[in-house]
Symmetry: C2
């Protein structure tokens, strides 16, 4: 979804090849994506893994994902790193706990500690955002990445504790490019269920 | 150390201002670094937080941290993201557990689960590296970031289970630029102890 949304923002056509879960550790996939993850991006010049790296390439090659001035671009890219390296890691921890620790006696205690790490980040993010529409001036790849990271908390009720962050996410997913990407993603799932 | 090392690789002079732990949440620091972290980078044009974003700016402004061709640059940057978003998060989890959970009855069990997540990443990284000197062709900011992330495991004995990764880290810290950065960092600590 992250890369799809970015491609929709810049209006670039793309093809999708699905990688079945069972094939993630195949040598042919690992050659392109050494950690056996998705997504992988391929154009005529380069093969890339890591959605941050893929979206950064699109930022550099096209307009529509960052301001044109050097300072604005650097700060948009900075927010991509903040989303991926500062905000997302404790959210991934929470997902892991919710997936693998629900049967442990210490699940509640550990979950509370992780949640405190997440809310420490969101306190800071919410304070920065204040009543801004986006993290810096106009919408950028930094907002795209932050919205996608915050969406990982859907269903936990955590983002809802921060009305300005909840509104920020709502603005993100209301964008026409997001909605096109989401519809395209959903169509793939529907197709693969039928197949 | 990450930014220092990058600055030493490109031979750019720099000044350092220390931020005492007690000042990390001061409004004046949060205005420059909303998550109350270090480092913050300032030049005449831009203020940035997130070491990944800072080093990426240096990659773009100077030679010496990535190949000149577009494909090589994109892949060097990709490895920065892989270091920060795929390899580092479980390592941070381990540090947190070792800092805050040693008195818990479930510390051993949780630590084993985190270690398994780290070794899954390092298995993949080691397989990719094989007998390469660096992750892609010549030394780049991707190697710099990966070496620094792996160094966070110093003292755990985990990297030592992968001779090629241990040798990769050893090659990184043997670089003249790393050694200059390390000496400069050490001097600051010594000075601040005396002060």
């Amino acid at each position: 979804m992250r890369v799809r949304w970015a491609l929709e923002e810049i209006g670039q056509p793309y093809d999708v090849s699905l990688v079945p879960m069972a094939r993630l550790k195949d040598p042919s996939h690992l050659a392109r994506n050494p950690f056996g993850q998705i997504p992988t991006y391929e154009d005529s010049d380069v093969t890339l893994f890591e959605s941050g790296a893929i979206i950064l390439l699109l930022v550099q090659q096209h307009s529509g994902l960052a301001p044109k001035d050097a300072e604005g671009r650097a700060r948009a890219i900075m927010w991509m790193f903040a989303a991926l390296n500062t905000v997302e890691p404790p959210i991934v921890e929470l997902e892991q706990a919710d997936l693998t620790e629900t049967d442990k006696s210490w699940y509640g205690e550990h979950r509370a500690a992780i949640t405190a790490r997440i809310t420490a980040r969101l306190d800071a993010l919410s304070a920065w955002l204040g009543d801004r529409e986006w993290l810096e001036g106009a919408f950028s790849a930094g907002d795209l990445m932050m919205v996608m990271v915050l969406r990982r908390l859907d269903g936990t009720g955590i983002v809802e504790q921060y009305p300005n962050l909840a509104a920020f996410v709502a603005r993100g997913v209301a964008r026409a490019a997001y909605r096109r990407a989401f519809a395209a993603q959903l169509a793939v799932f529907e197709e693969s269920k039928t197949a």
